[in-house]
Symmetry: C2
C-alpha cells in the first residue's frame, strides 16, 4: 500500500529504473500474450491472426485479430511501441513539460465484440509514456453490455476494485469516476456502457485525477481527490495488477452468458447498440482520433469497430422492456462494486 | 452569365433584398418538397415520415425519413432554419467579420442509402447564412457508388456542370475540385465517392475557392482561380439551379441500376463500403461534428448514417475485380464531365 506523504513532489520519486522502457514494454506485451491465450481458450473455435507492422517514424506493433469464433464475432488485441521527436499537440496540452522532448510510448489495447448479445463488449488499454524527464502510466478497462445483468456489472467492477485496492484505497473510486466521465456520449446524453476504471497521466506528482467536465461529473469529483505520492515501481505494480485483473473480470461473464439462447430481436438490439460504440470511438475517443489524424496504422486503430452495425432513425425501446432497462439504469453511473455488498 | 468585374469588392453588390431570409428559406424548403416528391415517385413503395422539431435557442426544422422502400433502404431529407446570438467558432474562423453578430441559417440536407448495391448513395446540401452585414450561400451534391459505372459518374457530373455553366464557366471546375478536396478520407487515402460539386462562403466578395489542403489538391488549384463579382440575386439563382439539377442528375441512375440483380457478395461489399461513409461523417464532416458538439437534434444529424454497416479487418478486394476497380479508379479524382465528351 502506497503511503500518503506530506510532500508528494519529492524529487527522489521521479527517477524511473534504467530499464524502464524495456520493463514497461514487457509488461504490456506479456499482457497481450496472456489475454490472447485466455481468450482463445474460452472461445474454443477461432485463433488470433497476427500482423507485425513497422512505423516509419519509429517503432511498430503486433496486431492480433480473432473473428467468427465460438464467442467472438470479432476482436482485436494490439501491442505497440512507438517513439519519435515530439509528442502530438493533443497530449502536450496536458503535459506541457514534455514539449520539445523526444518521446517513447508503449501499450496494449483491446476491444472484443462477442456474437451473443448477452455477452458484453469489452475494452482494455494499458500504456506507458516517457518524454524527457517526464513519464506516466495510463489505462483502464470498461464493459459495454447489450442486456442488463446486475450480476455481471457487479462482478466486473468488484474484480477491478480488488486489483486497485491492493495499491491505494482512492484508486478505484477515483478511476471508476474518471471512466464514467470519459466514456460518455454527450450527443446521446448516455454512457457508453457500465464503465470500469480509466486513468491517465499517473506519475510521481500525485494528481490522481485530470478529467475534463463534459458530463458534469468531473468538477464535483476533482475537488474531493487529493494527491498521492507514488514511485515508478508503485505505478508499474499497479498497472500490472489492473492488467492481470482483466481475464478474471470478464471470463466468468462469458461463461454465464454465452450459452444463452437469443433471437432476432436481441441480435437487432445488439447491432443497434453497437452503433453507439462506433459513434463514441469516431467522435470522442482520443486514441482513435489521434491515430487517424497522425498517420497511424488505420486497420489496427479501427479494429475496435464492430463487424456488423445498424442505425435506425428515432428508435426507442418498448417501455418496461429489458432494452429500456439497459438505457435507463445501466447506462447511467451506478456504484456497482458496492451494490454487490447489499 | 455573371460578368467578371474589375472591382469585385463593389459595395453595391453587398446588399441582399429585404426579404432575403424568407426567400432563402423558401428556396431550400421548396427544394426539400420537390426532392421528396420525386424520390417517393421513383421509390414506388415507401413514403417519407415527417418530424417537425423546434430548437430551444431559436428555430427548428422538418425532418423527413424514408425506409424499407422499393429503392431506398433508408434516407432522409432535412430542412432547418435556425438563429441565435453568435455563430459557432468553427464557422467564425473562416468568417471573422461575423464575430459578435446575431446569425440566421437555413438549409436542406439529404442522404439516401439505396438497398441495391448497384444504386449509388447520394448526398445533397444547400444552405444560406446571414450574420450582421455578412451573408453567404453554400452547398453541393456528391455521389458515392458501390460499383463502378462510368456512365453514371459521367451523367451525374455533366448534369451538375450544365447547372453551373448557366451561371459562370469557372463554377463547375472550381466546385468540382473543392468537392474532391472535401470528401476525402485522409486515414484511408481515399475519396468518399466520385464527387460532384461543393462550395462554401459564396458571397459578393468574389473568392470562389476557400478549401483547405488535406489531400494536396487545394494549393495547386487555388492559385488558378480568380475572383468573380456576384450579387445576392446571382448566387440565389445559382443555388436554385444546383438544387433543381439534383433529381435529373440522380433519377436516371436509379432507373438504370435498381432492377439489376445482385447477390450476397455485392451486398457485403456495399455494407463494407458504407463503413467508409460512417468514418467520413463522424471523423471529418463539419456539419455532423458541429451539430453533435453543439446540441443539435442528434437523430436528424445522424440520419445520414447507413442502416446496416460492416467493418472487416484488412479487407482488400480481389485483384482485377469490379470491387478493386471502384477503389483504384473511381475513388480517385477523375474529370468525369469531360470523359463523357470522348
Amino acid at each position: 500500500m502506497t503511503n500518503l506523504l506530506t510532500n508528494p513532489q519529492d524529487v527522489n520519486t521521479n527517477i524511473p529504473p534504467s530499464n524502464s522502457r524495456e520493463r514497461a514494454k514487457e509488461l504490456v506485451k506479456t499482457l497481450q500474450d496472456k489475454i490472447c491465450q485466455g481468450l482463445e481458450e474460452i472461445d474454443g473455435k477461432a485463433k488470433f491472426q497476427e500482423d507485425n507492422w513497422e512505423r516509419e517514424e519509429g517503432g511498430g506493433g503486433r496486431t492480433r485479430v480473432i473473428s467468427n469464433g465460438g464467442v467472438f464475432e470479432q476482436g482485436g488485441v494490439n501491442f505497440s511501441e512507438v517513439w519519435g521527436d515530439t509528442l502530438p499537440p493533443s497530449i502536450l496540452v496536458q503535459r506541457p513539460d514534455a514539449v520539445n522532448q523526444g518521446f517513447y510510448a508503449t501499450g496494449t489495447s483491446m476491444v472484443l465484440h462477442p456474437k451473443n448479445p448477452y455477452v458484453p463488449t469489452v475494452h482494455l488499454n494499458y500504456r506507458y509514456f516517457e518524454a524527457g524527464s517526464v513519464w506516466w502510466f495510463a489505462g483502464g478497462a470498461d464493459l459495454t453490455p447489450y442486456y442488463p445483468f446486475a450480476e455481471d456489472a457487479i462482478h466486473f467492477h468488484k474484480t477491478l476494485k480488488q486489483a486497485c485496492d491492493k495499491h491505494h484505497p482512492e484508486y478505484y473510486p477515483t478511476f471508476k469516476h474518471w471512466c464514467d466521465e470519459y466514456f460518455y456520449l454527450k450527443h446521446r446524453q448516455e454512457a457508453r456502457g457500465i464503465g470500469g476504471i480509466f486513468f491517465d497521466y499517473q506519475d510521481n506528482r500525485g494528481q490522481l485525477y485530470a478529467g475534463s467536465d463534459h458530463n458534469g461529473l468531473a468538477n464535483q469529483y476533482s475537488q474531493k481527490v487529493g494527491t498521492v505520492s507514488r514511485t515508478w515501481e508503485d505505478l508499474f505494480a499497479f498497472a500490472q495488477s489492473c492488467g492481470d485483473a482483466f481475464l478474471p473480470s470478464y471470463l466468468p461473464i462469458i461463461e454465464r452468458r454465452n450459452g444463452m439462447e437469443y433471437g432476432e430481436k436481441e441480435r437487432n438490439f445488439q447491432l443497434y447498440r453497437r452503433g453507439r460504440y462506433v459513434e463514441f470511438n469516431l467522435v470522442y475517443d482520443r486514441g482513435t482520433i489521434f491515430g487517424l489524424q497522425t498517420n497511424g496504422r488505420t486497420e489496427s486503430i479501427l479494429m475496435s469497430l464492430p463487424p456488423e452495425v445498424r442505425w435506425q432513425y428515432c428508435y426507442s425501446p418498448e417501455v418496461g422492456s429489458r432494452e429500456a432497462e439497459l438505457t435507463e439504469v445501466f447506462l447511467k453511473p451506478q456504484d456497482w462494486a458496492n451494490l454487490g455488498n447489499n
